[in-house]
């Protein structure tokens, strides 16, 4: 009765400083962060750092293996693969971040309100969320893209709108657990209004979980986009690693570099976002108790 430390507290309360300190010690996570940043820079400066115009077809240089002039070789249209990789980063990251962004922008408020207010509000919202979760997302995406076409915006919107439920669930759980904490009750007893409690007291604590989740969602969105493009359902006018893989299908025997490099890039990006997310999660929830 007198010692509360043994009460199972699922959520650990962290301060920003300690959080980053713990994160920095996780080599894999830092690696993931650096690679992510590298990719972001790649995407931003694609037009500058690409040695060739990615659309430029040169039938004299078809299926050239990697060489000093074409570091990653050329594809079946003679296009420089390295340049296409750089430009492909834009699409991947754009869709990745935007989808995760939409999911977070929709999921966080919905989940927070549901978790904080509970009762009827919670029941209604969660039924809605359940409906979304029941739908097989990938097939929904296929359906929408087949009907409405595979423009970048469509893909982005669809992935975002099918992944917000998991964010909402997560935020709901965070709010459910945080709203019972003493410091929230203390805030109420001081006179803090509901709105301010949600935004100023609980949200800064709960948002960590959403950030971790968003990181994983970026990885997932990139995977989904690549898959869609590979199947031919993405935006045909854009340069996407998925499309590059599609092009590389037939020629994989004679020009394997066509498939290796895009595949490698996809893997690398997804791994780095996952490591980043994992690292954030570990920094948030320390597993070792030192006492």
């Amino acid at each position: 009765m007198s010692n509360n430390h043994s009460k199972g507290k699922k959520t650990v309360l962290v301060s920003t400083r300690k959080f980053w300190w713990r994160f920095k010690k996780n080599r894999a996570a830092v690696g993931g962060l650096l690679i992510t940043i590298a990719f972001a820079l790649m995407a931003l400066s694609a037009s500058v750092i690409s040695p060739f115009d990615p659309f430029n077809m040169n039938f004299l240089e078809v299926f050239h293996p990697p060489s000093p002039s074409h570091l990653m070789g050329t594809d079946r249209f003679g296009r420089d693969i390295l340049s296409r990789i750089f430009w492909g980063t834009r699409i991947s990251l754009l869709i990745g971040f935007a989808s995760a962004g939409i999911a977070t922008l929709v999921g966080v408020p919905v989940g927070s309100i549901s978790g904080y207010f509970g009762g009827r509000v919670d029941e209604v919202i969660m039924r809605g969320v359940d409906v979304f979760l029941v739908i097989p997302t990938f097939f929904l995406i296929l359906l929408i893209v087949s009907i409405f076409g595979g423009s970048v915006w469509n893909v982005m919107a669809v992935i975002g709108l099918t992944s917000w439920p998991s964010t909402a669930r997560l935020m709901r759980a965070e709010f459910l657990s945080f709203k019972e904490q003493d410091f929230v009750e203390a805030a109420r007893s001081v006179g803090v209004g509901e709105f301010r409690i949600i935004l100023r007291e609980i949200m800064p604590n709960a948002i960590f979980a959403a950030i971790v989740n968003a990181s994983m969602q970026v990885a997932g969105a990139i995977m989904t986009e690549s898959s869609l493009s590979f199947l031919g359902l993405g935006d045909p006018n854009s340069i996407s690693w998925g499309f590059m893989l599609r092009d590389a299908l037939e020629s994989s025997r004679i020009a394997p570099w066509n498939a290796i490099f895009p595949g490698l890039m996809i893997t690398l990006v997804v791994v780095s976002f996952n490591l980043l997310g994992d690292g954030l999660n570990d920094a948030l929830n320390p597993h070792l108790k030192e006492k």
Partner: protein
């Protein structure tokens, strides 16, 4: 010869923030059939000491880096793990503070007690079950024959603590280590566990190492007391000596700061400051920043336990000058 002899025990935790010297040179003895109360606050090292004796210190990050622990003639720090497993539960047993986390939620309590008997005494299931019921009766669980089929969550906090004690005592260990047996319980349940422990002390031949922060429980139950602070022993003596003529300033201040039922005080004598940081403790005597008798010499040397009178050990270099000053 003492049953348990701990000599200069050192257990350190190697963490990313630094080395935590949780137990830093602890020495004490427990005689057969006696109760030793190990008293300390948080970060005093009392619980780690118990875990070290049982060799249950998580490694990493913890490590027993020095000292000796003799159970009879066996040095517990030099036996291998297989041998230690035979000792745990049969020669030394431990009960813990929070029964809910130490009991398996999906196993009936009778079976959990029987498990120890099957492993250590080689009993078959039926005899083990019978012995388990007897153990439950020994810890005064009413209707033990029906209770043995209960699951932990069906029992109250006090009952669960009794089950932990039953598990520990089922194989009649030579030493029972009771880690904060009353702390998480209601007042009246605490009293019943305290009375139970008194009863067990009288009936069984086991020695008891009672770990607690509650000076009241120690006074009622223990024969000898060992006061720990920041990983070191500050004072060690029989319970009568410690309470009637406490030697160490920490012990004195602790006793004076207790709100008691007897005295009529308007203001409690409190101890200044906070419990020290485990990673960078104060230099010299760990208690000196909070000690009203501290002098400059206290910052330099770490005081060792000196026998200031027969059976009374105090770790304070200014012990002789203490009585002169106003307490």
């Amino acid at each position: 010869m003492a049953l348990l002899s701990v000599d200069n025990l050192k257990t350190y935790f190697y963490t990313s923030r630094g080395i935590v010297k949780a137990v830093d040179g602890v020495t004490f003895e427990i005689d057969r059939g006696k109760v030793l109360g190990v008293v300390g606050e948080s970060a005093s090292g009392k619980s780690v000491t118990a875990h070290s004796i049982m060799r249950l210190v998580p490694d990493p990050p913890g490590k027993i880096v020095g000292g000796q622990i003799l159970l009879g003639t066996t040095n517990l720090l030099s036996v291998d793990e297989a041998e230690m497993r035979k000792i745990r539960g049969s020669r030394i047993a431990m009960s813990f503070q929070d029964p809910m986390t130490y009991l398996n939620p999906i196993v009936r309590v009778g079976d959990q007690i029987a498990e120890a008997l099957i492993i250590h005494e080689g009993l078959d299931k039926t005899s083990a079950r019978k012995a388990a019921v007897e153990a439950m009766q020994m810890v005064q669980i009413p209707s033990a024959e029906e209770r043995e089929y209960d699951y932990p969550h069906q029992l109250s906090g006090g009952m669960r603590q009794r089950i932990l004690l039953a598990i520990a005592l089922s194989c009649r260990p030579e030493l029972l280590i009771a880690d904060e047996p009353t702390t998480a319980l209601d007042v009246i349940v605490q009293a019943s566990i305290l009375e139970l422990l008194k009863d067990l002390r009288n009936r069984l031949s086991s020695s008891i190492m009672l770990i607690t922060h509650d000076l009241g429980i120690v006074a009622e139950l223990a024969d000898d007391v060992c006061i720990m602070y920041a990983g070191k022993v500050m004072e060690r003596a029989s319970v009568d000596l410690v309470y009637s003529s406490p030697g160490h300033p920490y012990t004195r201040s602790l006793l004076e700061s207790l709100p008691s039922l007897e005295a009529e005080q308007t203001k409690l004598k409190s101890i200044e400051g906070d419990v020290p940081d485990a990673i960078s403790p104060p230099s010299g005597c760990r208690f000196h920043p909070r000690c009203s008798y501290a002098a400059d010499s206290c910052k330099e040397a770490i005081p060792s336990l000196e026998e200031v009178e027969r059976g009374h050990w105090v770790a304070c270099i200014r012990y002789d000058q203490l009585d002169a000053k106003e307490a």
